[in-house]
């Protein structure tokens, strides 16, 4: 197992240079990460529990600031950007959170429409689009259901629809098939693959599901003890 070294030949969608992340309570969770996700790439991120997968994803969707190092997204150094520019950048990223992060007092429709709403769009402009997407993830009959009335799998699908509604340039998903049945899991993964191929969306999926990784034969990044390493165990690394 060797430390992962990225290919720097073109301007990537995501580039992490010597990024470390330290939490006050738990100490360093990521150490000197160098990572490149090329535009239009489809990549899996795996590793044991506590390896720092979720922390790495958080850095990429601009939740915490790294303790050290730099993050470039779509060619822009994030620490050089103003907060307004960061918000605009964040709108180019779709995120499927492991714990869904839906707002309980909103309906499935309103949760999916949230990224559009906060960017100032009116319901008339996105109504059909949101409903179509909810139908596609199998929630056409649950459009007006409040979050607490949805099952875990349904909430997962709402979270996925919310991540896709903005047609993001970068899609980050943390265990996106963890709470859905295999059939829906396949459907979601096929959608991701389609987005990647047809639209060119850069996709990074953190998962424990080895079958999923084998089936899609995409590059795999493996995290171990807060360090990123190349792992060819599943036969899919670059």
């Amino acid at each position: 197992m060797s430390r992962y070294r990225p290919d720097l030949s073109d301007e990537p969608a995501v580039r992490l240079d010597g990024v470390s992340l330290t939490y006050e309570r738990t100490g360093e969770v990521l150490s000197e990460i160098d990572l490149v996700l090329r535009q239009g790439s489809f990549t899996f991120l795996t590793g044991p529990s506590g390896a720092g997968k979720s922390s790495l994803l958080k850095l990429m969707y601009l939740a915490p600031a790294p303790t050290r190092g730099g993050i470039r997204l779509f060619g822009r150094q994030t620490f050089e950007l103003k907060r307004k520019q960061l918000a605009a950048l964040r709108r180019r990223i779709g995120v499927v959170f492991q714990e869904f992060r839906l707002l309980d007092h909103l309906t499935a429709f309103e949760n999916v429409a949230l990224p559009l709403r906060v960017s100032g769009q009116k319901p008339d402009a996105y109504q059909n689009e949101v409903i179509d997407l909810l139908r596609w993830v199998g929630l056409g009959e649950r459009v007006d259901a409040l979050t607490p009335s949805l099952s875990g799998g349904e909430q997962q699908r709402v979270a996925i629809a919310r991540a896709l509604i903005n047609k993001p340039d970068l899609l980050i998903a943390d265990e996106p098939t963890g709470n859905v049945d295999p059939e829906m899991g396949q459907k979601i993964m096929r959608l991701f693959a389609e987005l990647n191929k047809r639209v060119g969306t850069t996709i990074l999926i953190a998962t424990h599901d080895l079958d999923l990784i084998r089936e899609f034969e995409a590059p795999v990044l493996r995290l171990s003890n807060g360090m990123l390493v190349r792992d060819v165990e599943y036969g899919a690394a670059e």
Binding site: R83, S119, Q127, R162
Partner: protein, 291 residues
């Protein structure tokens, strides 16, 4: 048909109900303290002016007709509300502590006493009264309460300062507690802040949502507190109007004039602004940890 947008913040929860109560109670106390302080101010002003304006003119070796003439002339002064000669029974009551009830000896040469109520804010009439006494060739003197009034005024000033300090302290405490309670209520909404932030909302947009929510909440609660203070004040005013004599003079002069209404209107606005500012600072501080 267009869909109605549900507010991005939940309507309310138990934490906000607690905040509503805290803001309402503090606004009630602050408004009541401010109104009472104004009342104390007004009472002190009136009491001080009355003491300073009370003059007694002692007229010796003269007859009642001349004394009445002097009183008539004095009462015509612009800064004099009233000037009159005390009648025999009033003099007897005055001397009762020395001679006992009905014990004043017949033929005792008691000087005529003129009581004068003047508006000292316009001017001290003592010299003009002495001029009247000279003009009518009355051997008399004017006794004012200047020395005594100075002590009273000093005491009243201390009272005013204390009342003002209490209002200032209570207002500052109210603002601090409202800010703290808002901060606590908002921390419980951290999940919403995070979701909005990660959905691409700008800091100003997120802060604006919470500012509006807590501004309206504190404004409503503050209005409730101010209305309660108004009702209590009205009750005191109503009770005070039936008091008479010394009791009436010592009761705070609570009334509802223009400035009292201003106090009642400003209190909820101040509470709203405190909550709004706290909400803004809390949201921006919580977002500061993020990129």
């Amino acid at each position: 048909m267009s869909r109605r947008e549900t507010p991005l913040l939940p309507v309310s929860d138990a934490r906000e109900a607690a905040l509503f109560f805290v803001v309402g109670a503090l606004c009630f106390l602050a408004a009541l303290a401010a109104l009472t302080t104004r009342g104390t101010y007004k009472a002190a002003e009136a009491w001080g002016a009355q003491i300073e304006g009370d003059l007694t003119v002692i007229m010796r070796d003269t007859d009642r007709r001349t004394a009445e003439e002097a009183a008539s002339r004095v009462s015509n002064f612009a800064n004099v509300f009233e000037a009159r000669i005390l009648n025999d029974s009033e003099v007897e009551t005055l001397l009762e502590p020395s001679f006992g009830p009905g014990g004043m000896p017949q033929g005792l040469p008691v000087p005529f006493l003129m009581v004068v109520q003047a508006d000292t804010a316009v001017g001290d009439p003592s010299q003009a009264i002495e001029g009247v006494l000279d003009d009518l060739q009355i051997d008399g003197s004017v006794a004012g309460n200047a020395g005594y009034a100075e002590n009273v005024r000093g005491g009243l000033n201390t009272l005013r300062l204390m009342a003002l300090s209490i209002v200032a302290l209570l207002s500052a405490t109210a603002v601090a507690v409202i800010a703290f309670a808002t901060h606590a209520a908002l921390l419980a909404r951290r999940d919403i802040v995070d979701v909005l932030h990660l959905s691409g909302a700008e800091d100003r947009y997120i802060a604006g949502l919470f500012e509006r929510r807590f501004w309206i909440l504190a404004l409503q609660a503050g209005m409730g507190g101010a209305i309660a203070a108004l009702m209590v004040t009205a009750l005191i005013v109503f009770s005070g109007s039936s008091a008479e004599g010394v009791e009436a003079q010592l009761l705070p002069q609570l009334s509802l004039d223009f400035w009292d209404i201003v106090i009642l209107l400003v209190t909820p606005v101040m509470a709203g602004l405190a909550a709004r500012m706290a909400a803004r600072l809390t949201v921006l501080a919580s977002l500061k940890d993020t990129l």
